[in-house]
């Protein structure tokens, strides 16, 4: 793979629009990544091969984005890491998942959360009948003492002041953006080292997307590592340092966030257009519309 190395003969003439070759070691995580996937395969119902050898890594600080069209396998990747794939009749059938120096492949989610990895699922999954405070307290169910839990609760209210105002409200009646903030806060209650977050911008108004991402920025600043799945590539790449693009259960492109931002293929991916330029499904059209609002 010598051609993927930065060749001195290429000089400064980096061809624009060229698909970026996977820059080996270009990712600053090679030293000691917090999370590393090596050739991970996932089988659903013992027949559907949803991931076909995914390798990626997340450094100990900063944010990595996982992009791709519908059905590419982004959510499946996150579920395989956190172990909730188990409850969906799926399993990791090959490959390795190393978190913080230890294999977590096949571990149950409780163990993974305890190890410091928490998964915020797609779709703003609050506990609808409980108050904001109760949701957060449940997120801190692993604390050995109430004192430690209270301290974490205060930290969450500090990090996301909006939640503090809402603490006695029933979670099911919050606005979409508030619910997204709540599930992020609830995940923080587990005091994770790494947060996997699946489509936090989905279905939110632009102003709310800004607020949610501002919170993610702040958490990142405070040292939380993030692996974020997004359809809204623009906001995701503004937050991320590095990105991977998936298609058909494989990583097809990776690179520094600013390189990806400039890449034409990425635009195509996140428009949900297939190679011929046709749209795959109604959902893709919706994504397209939503995206149009961003880019103006």
């Amino acid at each position: 793979m010598s051609d993927s190395l930065e060749s001195p003969r290429a000089g400064s003439g980096h061809a624009d629009g060229e698909p970026l070759p996977p820059p080996h070691g270009g990712h600053d995580s090679h030293a000691d990544p917090l999370l590393a996937l090596a050739n991970v395969e996932v089988l659903y119902a013992e027949v559907i091969l949803a991931l076909k050898g995914v390798s990626l890594s997340v450094p100990r600080a900063g944010c990595v984005a996982l992009l791709g069209a519908n059905g590419a396998g982004k959510s499946t990747t996150l579920k395989a890491i956190s172990g909730i794939i188990d409850a969906e009749d799926g399993r990791v059938s090959a490959g390795g998942i190393i978190f913080d120096g230890r294999s977590i492949r096949g571990h149950d989610t409780a163990g993974v959360v305890r190890a410091g990895l928490v998964h915020v699922m797609e779709g703003r999954r609050v506990l609808p009948h409980m108050t904001v405070a109760q949701n957060l307290i449940i997120g801190g169910h692993m604390f050995p003492s109430t004192v430690a839990m209270r301290r974490a609760l205060d930290a969450v209210y500090q990090a996301i002041p909006r939640l503090s105002e809402l603490r006695t409200r029933t979670a099911g009646y919050l606005s979409g953006g508030e619910q997204q903030l709540l599930v992020i806060g609830r995940a923080i209650m587990a005091e994770p080292k790494l947060m996997l977050i699946d489509e936090p911008s989905l279905g939110l108004a632009p102003r709310m997307v800004e607020e949610v991402f501002a919170v993610l920025h702040r958490l990142r600043e405070q040292g939380l590592a993030l692996l974020i799945v997004e359809q809204n590539t623009r906001v995701a790449l503004a937050l991320a340092d590095y990105g991977y693009v998936m298609e058909g259960g494989r990583i097809v492109l990776e690179g520094q966030a600013d390189e990806l931002r400039a890449n034409e293929d990425v635009r195509e991916f996140y428009l949900g257009l297939d190679r011929e330029g046709g749209r795959k499904s109604f959902r893709d059209i919706k994504h397209y519309r939503r995206r149009k609002r961003w880019l103006g």
Partner: protein, 295 residues
């Protein structure tokens, strides 16, 4: 007569609190696992036979006998989770409810197999001398039952709404997948629910059956308590008390004043009628979690 009326109402209220105590068997298991346990009556009969066996048949000291019955019922609860529900995590809640119907049949069969169909005098664990306040006469087991119901409800309400362990279990009742994603052990929560259900069934059986006779048919109290559970809504433990009081008082007064007029047994129908009316108006019961729908 005023005093008669008060007497009927008071006895009805206490009977209602007994229903509430039985109905806690439904709610506790629901609040920690989202499963509606159809076998509540059978669990109660099993608890009762354990107490009978320990205290009357084996002639243990009552305190020791009750402790033994409690311990065994916890083990039975844990076994139920281990043998039946552990395999079903991730399956639909509906299939879990069907399993509780199977459990009902199985437990009834086991009770018949072990202890047979004959009537047994249940030991008077709670003294039978009635409490007399002025002109009012209150059966002591019912009075004790009312007190126990209130104490249990307060304790369980605190547990499920305030304590972290209880809240984590409530999360399981809300949504198994969310609970799993947060690292809550759904398995442990369900096991705890059935163990707690076992404990409650022993306590309830002593209130209900003290000094009465016990057969496998005593499980009917489970169905008598069903209207209270559904009226309250399956999530609200405090609501059970109020629903129990309403059902009990209405039933008591119907038995006293309406049944003699029509020469029939309207009292046993009234709770179900009441339940149907409330459920038509508010399907989640009076205090249950309202289904939240917003877009």
């Amino acid at each position: 007569m005023m005093i008669e009326f008060v007497n009927y109402a008071l006895n009805g209220a206490l009977l209602g609190l007994l229903y509430a105590l039985v109905a806690m068997g439904f709610v506790v298991i629901y609040r920690a696992s989202k499963v509606f346990n159809m076998a509540v009556g059978e669990m109660l009969v099993l608890g009762a036979f354990l107490v009978w066996w320990a205290v009357a048949a084996s002639a243990m000291h009552p305190a020791v006998g009750i402790a033994a019955a409690l311990a065994i019922s916890v083990l039975v609860g844990l076994a139920i989770e281990r043998l039946l529900f552990r395999r079903l995590i991730g399956e639909s809640v509906f299939s879990m409810i069907m399993v509780t119907i199977g459990l009902l049949i199985l437990m009834r069969g086991l009770v018949l197999l072990i202890w047979g169909p004959q009537e047994r005098p249940f030991p008077a664990i709670i003294s039978l001398t009635p409490i007399i306040i002025g002109d009012m006469i209150v059966p002591r087991p019912l009075a004790a039952g009312g007190l126990i119901a209130v104490v249990c409800a307060a304790g369980l309400h605190w547990f499920f709404n305030r304590s972290r362990t209880g809240l984590a279990m409530s999360a399981v009742a809300e949504d198994h997948q969310i609970a799993l994603a947060m690292g809550i052990s759904v398995r442990r929560s369900i096991a705890f629910a059935w163990a707690l259900g076992g404990v409650l069934s022993v306590i309830t059986s002593m209130v209900y059956l003290s000094g009465k006779s016990l057969t496998f048919l005593s499980s009917e109290i489970g169905f008598a308590a069903l209207p209270v559970a559904l009226l309250a809504g399956l999530e609200s433990i405090a609501g059970l008390l109020l629903a129990g009081l309403i059902v009990g008082i209405v039933q008591g007064l119907t038995a006293a004043y309406i049944d003699p007029l029509i020469g029939g047994n309207a009292a046993s129908v009234v709770p179900y009628l009441f339940m149907l009316v409330v459920l038509v108006v508010r399907p989640t019961g009076m205090f249950g979690w309202k289904r939240i729908e917003r877009v």
